[in-house]
Structure formats: structure tokens, C-alpha cells
Symmetry: C2
């Protein structure tokens, strides 16, 4: 066992967390799924959706704004470039995508925390991008770098996430043009897992990668993925220059872009699911292919972010059935392209960590798990339609992530699991509490929630009748109090601080 994992297991945090164990125990760097993907659409209908995406690409096209290099890439690759509008003959993008790896490793600074992305692997990563944070004590307010660090620490303290994430919340107390440095530093300093860098400007993407180079060494970074960048399509059918330049910066450095359309059906896409899926496929294929033109063989993740809108109010909706079921189709399409997949997460529009939050979140998260997603951003903390990062929801979601470790193990079938000896021993009408098979298996038999209350009503009432949100409130505070930072080489730490100081000194603060 790796030293850092051992340390984590032996701390107070580990004792707290060990209540929530699964059959394979805690400490897995990522999940290897042992259940099949849930393939809901026939080959015939998948082909129809692919053909629709091909027609969108060939007949409507995609605009690439403010990035002449990207247009030049497309010209050389044989696409039809007309001003900033680019059209693609059917098959062109699929050909380009053949150089993208089906699976790759994102290396963590603690090698025991490195994750496989692709194939049967599943990686849970925190929610990303909220301007606000929320907790039950103080309600909603703008996020700060302290909140950001808190969430990095909470993620690090949990064995049920596998990744430190990216912009967990916006630290709005820091200048817009410098906060990426503090965010990347927080991921490196307070976590030893993989993380994501900035995409809000090409220079910030490059700063993020440079900081990774300080940690891993420039040669290692050129040959291995150590940082991800999550880039969004400006749906419908627009890639803006900020995103393509950032995406190319990651690809150029052999780092993985996560290519994600942002389609709220009825707004940035059609109100019908099949059309939104076809659009998503078209937009994602174009983005993923661009990374291969920048650097053939660079790792890239096929992403999607389907959601719907309330057609009464125009508000976005999350955790609804259409995107959940649509994710299953997107999963099938990604596998046909042999690309690693990012899907959904624990989505909700609820403003509180309540029944709505977890109904919507569970539907969305289970869809991500069923569809075969390899990298599940927004696995924990998402509230308020992505506007708020919630401390309590984070902890509630961790418990669902824990349960999904066991869920994804599926049903094992062997002599011990079939327990025929136990039936012979116990016989009809008795109970299994003390039988040999139970004694031999009980320690690892069932997933044991760290948060759910399974006590009898009277005992629960006597203990104060807390609801799940109230228990989550106590729990995140305890986790922060128990948090222990992973060791970081002092030379690296100093070099990182030095790099940040120089970069910060090189420009004035910008606040928008």
C-alpha cells in the first residue's frame, strides 16, 4: 500500500470514513466497473442520430470565432472553411479522431492516486464552476478562496472521490486574471489527487500547465497526462476563441481537454432529445478532432452536458428524465467513437440539500454511472442549477458516491457468495445472524452509509430527530477539523509559490 494511502487510512478522518466501507474496502484510486453499460438504443437508431450529426456538420456547420490557427487547422485537414463557418464532409472528423487514445492515465502527484480514464474505469470528481457557495448556517454567498480550499480539503478527505476537480467554486475575492494560480496551487497543496486547470484564457491554461510542470517535471508532462482542462462549446454550434485556444494549449502540451457542449434544450438546442443528442455529438466531435489536429495522439475526453428548460418559465432544469435517458445514448455514441466519456453528475435545481436535490441528483448521477461515463464531473456539491456549491450537498453526494462503489461492483457469483453451506447450516425457519457464513463475511458484507440514519424511530427521536441535511452539516465541519494535508516536497512548494508570485507581479489585477 502506498504511504500516503496508509497515512490517510490511519488518521481520524479514515476512522470516520470507514463506517462507509464497501465490499472492496476503501482506498481505491478509481472504480473499475463490474456491471455492463446500459445500452438503451438500437444500432439502427444510433446510426440515424450519427447521420443527423453528420448532416448538421456538413450542411449547417460550426462557427470557430477569434482563432485563426484553428481555421487554418481545419483548412489543412480538408474542411470547408467559409469565413469563420466550417463545414465537414461526413467521415472527416471520425478519421481525424482515430489518433485519439481510447483510454489514458491521468497521473497524480501521489502515484497511488493516478486514475485511468476510459474503458471500464469510473472517476468521480467534484462539481465545477459555481459563483456561489452555500451552507445551512450562512445561506448563500459568493465563493472565496477559503471556500475553494475547504472543498479541496473535503474532497481529499473522502475516499469516495477520485479527483480533486477544477474550479470547484469561483473565488470571487481574487482578481479574475490571477485566481487560476491560487486555484491550481490549492489543488496541488491540499490534495494529492489529479486536478483540472484554467481554461478562461490561453495564458491561464499555460500557467496551469506550467505549474504542473513544476510538480511533475517538464519531460514527464510532455509524455504523460497530469492535468485536465474542461472546455465548453458555445452551443449551438459555436466554438469561441477563448475555448479553442485553451483547448489547443492543453493538447499541445499532451494534456487532456474535456470537450463539453452546454445544451439546455429549448435554448441552446432543440426541445427534442434526439436532436439535442445529435447536436451534442456534432459539437463534441469537432472539438475533440481539433485537439488531434493540434497534436495527434493527445488525450481528449468526449463530454456532454444535456439539460432541459422549464418551458413555463424559461429556467434551466436539472436532474430531469430526458437528459438522464439521453446520457445513455451519448454513452453508446462515445463508445462507437472509442473515446473516454464524461457525462452528467449529481445535478439539481433545488436551492436546498433536500428531497428535491437528491431525487434529481440520484436520477442524474445514476444515469452517468449507467451510461458508462469514465469521468463524472459534478459528482458532489452541485446545487441551485450549478449556481451554488453546497457544503451539505457535497457530503450527501459523497454518501451516494460511496454507495455507487458497491453498486458498480455488481453481483459476484462464486461459492462463498452463493452461501449454500449457510442454508444447510441454518435450515428453514431459523436466522442467519450467528451462522458461520455470516461471521466469515459480515465485515465486508454490506455497504454501510456514513450518513444515513438506519436506527429505530425511537432511537433516532431520542438523538434529536436530525434530518439528513442537519447530519451533513455536522459532518463537513468534522471532516474539515480532522483534515490533514498530504505531504508536499518543500522545494516544489517553494517553486510553485515563486512562480505564482512572478506571474502575479507581471500584471495588474483585473476584476472582470
Amino acid at each position: 500500500m502506498n504511504e500516503a494511502v496508509r497515512r490517510q487510512r490511519s488518521g481520524r478522518g479514515a476512522r470516520l470514513e470507514q463506517r462507509g466501507h464497501g465490499p472492496q474496502g476503501i482506498g481505491r484510486p478509481y472504480i473499475v466497473r463490474n456491471i455492463p453499460t446500459y445500452d438503451i438504443l438500437s444500432e439502427e437508431n444510433l446510426v440515424r442520430i450519427e447521420a443527423a450529426a453528420d448532416r448538421i456538420l456538413a450542411e449547417v456547420g460550426i462557427e470557430f470565432r477569434d482563432d485563426p490557427v484553428t481555421l487554418e487547422h481545419w483548412r489543412r485537414a480538408g474542411a470547408r472553411v467559409d469565413g469563420r463557418l466550417v463545414r465537414f464532409e461526413p467521415g472527416l472528423l471520425r478519421d481525424i479522431l482515430k489518433t485519439a487514445p481510447a483510454t489514458f492515465t491521468q497521473h497524480a502527484r501521489n502515484p497511488a492516486r493516478s486514475v485511468e480514464i476510459g474503458g471500464n474505469s469510473v472517476v468521480f470528481s467534484p462539481a465545477y464552476g459555481s459563483p456561489f457557495v452555500m451552507d445551512l448556517d450562512n445561506g448563500r454567498r459568493y465563493g472565496t478562496i477559503e471556500d475553494f480550499r475547504n472543498f479541496v480539503k473535503l474532497a481529499q478527505a473522502s475516499p469516495w472521490l477520485h479527483h480533486s476537480g477544477g474550479t470547484i467554486c469561483e473565488p470571487v475575492d481574487l482578481p479574475v486574471n490571477k485566481r487560476h494560480l491560487d486555484m491550481v496551487y490549492a489543488h496541488i497543496r491540499f490534495s494529492d489527487r489529479g486536478f483540472m486547470g484554467s481554461v478562461t484564457a490561453e495564458s491561464r491554461a499555460e500557467d496551469s500547465i506550467d505549474m504542473a510542470r513544476i510538480v511533475f517535471g517538464p519531460d514527464f508532462v510532455d509524455r504523460h497526462c497530469v492535468i485536465l482542462g474542461n472546455v465548453n462549446v458555445n452551443s449551438p454550434l459555436v466554438w469561441d476563441g477563448t475555448m479553442t485556444r485553451a483547448m489547443r494549449a492543453y493538447a499541445r502540451a499532451n494534456q487532456a481537454a474535456v470537450v463539453v457542449p452546454f445544451i439546455l434544450g429549448g435554448a441552446m438546442g432543440p426541445v427534442t432529445n434526439a436532436g439535442a443528442i445529435a447536436q451534442s455529438l456534432a459539437e463534441t466531435m469537432a472539438g475533440c478532432a481539433l485537439t488531434q489536429l493540434e497534436r495527434p495522439g493527445a488525450p481528449v475526453i468526449f463530454g456532454n452536458f444535456l439539460s432541459s428548460t422549464s418551458l413555463r418559465s424559461g429556467s434551466p432544469t436539472f436532474g430531469t428524465p430526458e437528459p438522464a435517458i439521453g446520457s445513455m445514448v451519448v454513452g453508446q455514441l462515445a463508445r462507437r467513437l472509442r473515446l473516454p466519456l464524461r457525462c452528467s453528475g449529481n445535478f439539481t435545481t433545488s436551492k436546498l440539500p433536500d428531497a428535491q436535490a437528491m431525487t434529481e441528483g440520484s436520477m442524474s448521477m445514476l444515469a452517468a454511472v449507467h451510461c458508462g461515463a469514465n469521468f463524472i464531473l459534478h459528482s458532489a456539491g452541485f446545487l441551485d442549477g450549478l449556481l451554488s456549491m453546497s457544503y451539505e450537498k457535497f457530503v450527501l453526494d459523497l454518501d451516494l458516491c460511496a454507495a455507487l462503489h458497491t453498486y458498480l461492483d455488481g453481483v459476484r457469483v462464486d461459492d462463498n457468495q452463493l452461501a449454500l453451506d449457510a442454508f444447510s447450516e441454518v435450515g428453514p425457519g431459523s436466522h442467519f445472524f450467528g451462522c458461520a457464513h455470516t461471521i466469515a463475511n459480515y465485515e465486508t458484507a454490506y455497504w454501510d452509509s456514513a450518513l444515513a440514519d438506519n436506527e429505530p424511530f425511537e432511537k433516532w427521536e431520542a438523538a434529536g430527530s436530525a434530518d439528513a441535511a442537519g447530519r451533513a452539516n455536522r459532518r463537513w465541519k468534522q471532516m474539515l477539523a480532522d483534515y490533514e494535508p498530504p505531504p508536499l516536497d518543500e522545494g516544489i512548494d517553494e517553486a510553485l509559490r515563486d512562480f505564482m508570485a512572478r506571474r502575479k507581479a507581471s500584471m495588474d489585477d483585473a476584476w472582470y
Copy 2:
């Protein structure tokens, strides 16, 4: 459209409910699934589980207590009967089960509400069997016949359930030996959907069926299923006489028993999932086969109720990953037997309609939907490990049931759904709000929750910052206030009342 359905749709309740519409609109008597079942286990492993069940049946056997007729049935069928212990050669039960129908209709007194049970149909039915009821105003207390009637009315008022259920809660204010009459009457009087009768004594099962005969006519009842009886195995491996006599009463009358082991792993079954599933298969096959010995061709439902226990406290746990994933395997096994399937439901151990309740409930309910269950008992109201029927949880679960109507529709792929014209019309960088395709489709485009709050934070806050449970509290009260009873023929009503009066007069009250 049927008259009763039209009336329901035009009432105030319908207007409230119509916020929650799906693509196919409201008013479907049951769901026809348009997505495949989720088959997680290989043929090889299914065969191993079947072989384990066969060995349990052949080597350990099942006890049938206090029912000589059942033992005589088994003797004649060729089982090895040794006192009350019965052992079965591999293949015997499968042969007997060949006469059981793969699908059947349960007729409702309103023919528009009749449901198919089997094949691709999915029927949602309320929770069953709690001694307590709960609401946010009054907390937990014993259920009464008034509560019982309230839940029948709430179920009837919702288009998202398809069945009136059975013992929705125990009306403990009525004598144990007479309350079945009032429960069956409430289902008939306040609902026009299918329902379940008593199983707590053979005579009560017969009373329930006799009341159905008054409604449907004895000849019709002899030829069609109009009532279900939910019978439990006394797991492990015991069928007691109360259950087998009640089960035989239903089968004799050509009515469907729902045959359900009750396995809390670690207590009534082994702590390992594969073993619990094998046990469940053995127990259910024996029960279902018995119905065929009583009356070959009688409808019967293959049921299961897997759950786990907290091995720290011994308390039952619900909505955990092991039973969820186990349900998927049970679904595969039931389909191999070509029997209609009942699975899981919206399970939880939470004592409140909170985040825990809906995390556990969603995992459990989605498993039921994915595993191919045709009849999902406990679809709404289940709280506190089956001990409490919750008014708020009932309404929260209705909203999930509504979402699942859309979920089970899957992704349709046709020219309108692919929306290619919309992409041509809108083009890159614009929005789809006002385009022709959106206008043509928006009324039925998305499922629209009747309970979720999708409003912007500020609007939600200004409206009082209610959580989902608070909204559910207001909603069930409004639904009860708006409830309108379905019409019932006065002659039938009088005959039912007369039957009940005679039966009640024929015996003293019994309170245990």
C-alpha cells in the same frame, strides 16, 4: 376517452396535476416501457444462481406449516414430503410453472383503468403495510381508517399511479378481524382502479374476493383477474399456513397472488447477494408453483423483497446498493421463467421526507424500473423502513413516478425528434426559444415536475424559501381538498355495505 377519465381530467385536481405532464400526456392506465431491461448478469452466472436455488430446494427444502392441503398438493405433484418439510427435484417446480400466464389483465371497475401485468407493462402501486402514518404537522402516529381513505383518495387523484394498492396503512382503530372489509370497501368506493385484498386469514381473502364478485359479478371474476393478494414467505424457507391458505384462496378464485419472500440479508437470508437471490428464487418458485397446483392457469406474480441489515446495529436497511443491483438479477431470473415480476419500490429507512429518503428511494425505485418489474408495490409513501406511511413522501414519490413515465418512454428517433429543420432555421450562435420546431413541440417537450422548484434563487427566496417537504405538505392537503370520488353504482354500493354489515355481525371484534 372513457367518461371517468374525462371527468378526472376536467376537475380541479386535473388542472393541478397537468403541470406534471409527460410527452405522452397524462391518463395512461399503465406504462408500456420503451427502454430495454438492464440485464447485468451473464447467462453463465444466471445458470449458477438457478443451480444454487435448485440445490436449496432439493437438499434443504422448504417447510409448509399448518396446511395439510398444500402438503397433499406437493405429494401428488411428486415432491418429497417429509412431515412439513418438502424437497423438490430440480426441474419439478419449473414444470409446474409452465401453466402460469406470462401476462394477464387486472380488470378495474372502470375499464379505462384496467392494467396489463407482465411483458413490457409497468404498474405503480402505493406502499403497503405500515402500522404508522406520518405527516409534518402531527408527526408519527398509528394509522386509522381515515388515513387509509385519505391515501386511497390521494392515489386516485394522481395520474402517476396505476393501482389503488392494498393495506396502504393498517387502520388500527378497527378490529383486526374486520378491518379488511373497510379497507377493500375504501378501495372500491374511493378509487376506480385495481386493488389488493386481504391475506391475513383465508376467510378474509375470501371476503375480499366476495366483495370483488359483488362489483364485477361472480362469472366475470371466475374468468378474469380483478383483485390481487400479496403473500409473504416466512423467510428463510418457510411458508406458513396463513399465507398458503390465503394464496390458494386467490388462486382457486382465478385471482393473482403476488408471491414475495421477505429477505433482510444477514437475518432471513445470507449476507451475500448471490445467495440471497438464489434463496429468493427458490422460495418464490415454490409459492408460485403452489398456485398452479391449486388452479392451473391462475395468474400469479413472481415477487421479491431483498434488503440488507446494518451489521453494526442489526437494523434493516433500505434503498442500499446491494438490493438495487440484486433486483436487476431477479428481473433476469423472472424473465427466464416467463412470469410477471414485482420488485422493490421506493424504499428508505429515513424517518423524514428528506435527502436520505429520496436518495435511498430513487436508487431503489430506479432499480425496480430498470430490472423490468411489471408491478411495483411501494411506489409511493414508504418511510421509516416500512413502519410509516408518509403523506409528504407519498407526494414526493408521485413526482418521481411522474418523471419515470417520461424516463420509460426512452429516446424516440424520428424526423421531428431529430429536428434537422430547426438547426437550419436557427444556425450557429442563436437560440431555439422562438423557432418553429420549438413552437410546434414545446407543449409536450419536457416532463414538467409539479413539485420541484426550478425558479431562480431570488424568486424562490421571495416566495418563502420552502423546501421540497414543505411544498409536499401543502400539496397533499390541496389534493385531498380537490378530491372528487369516482361514480359508483348505487346498487353495488348498497350490496357491498350489506355484505360488510352481515360479515361484521357474524363475529365478535378481535383486537389481535
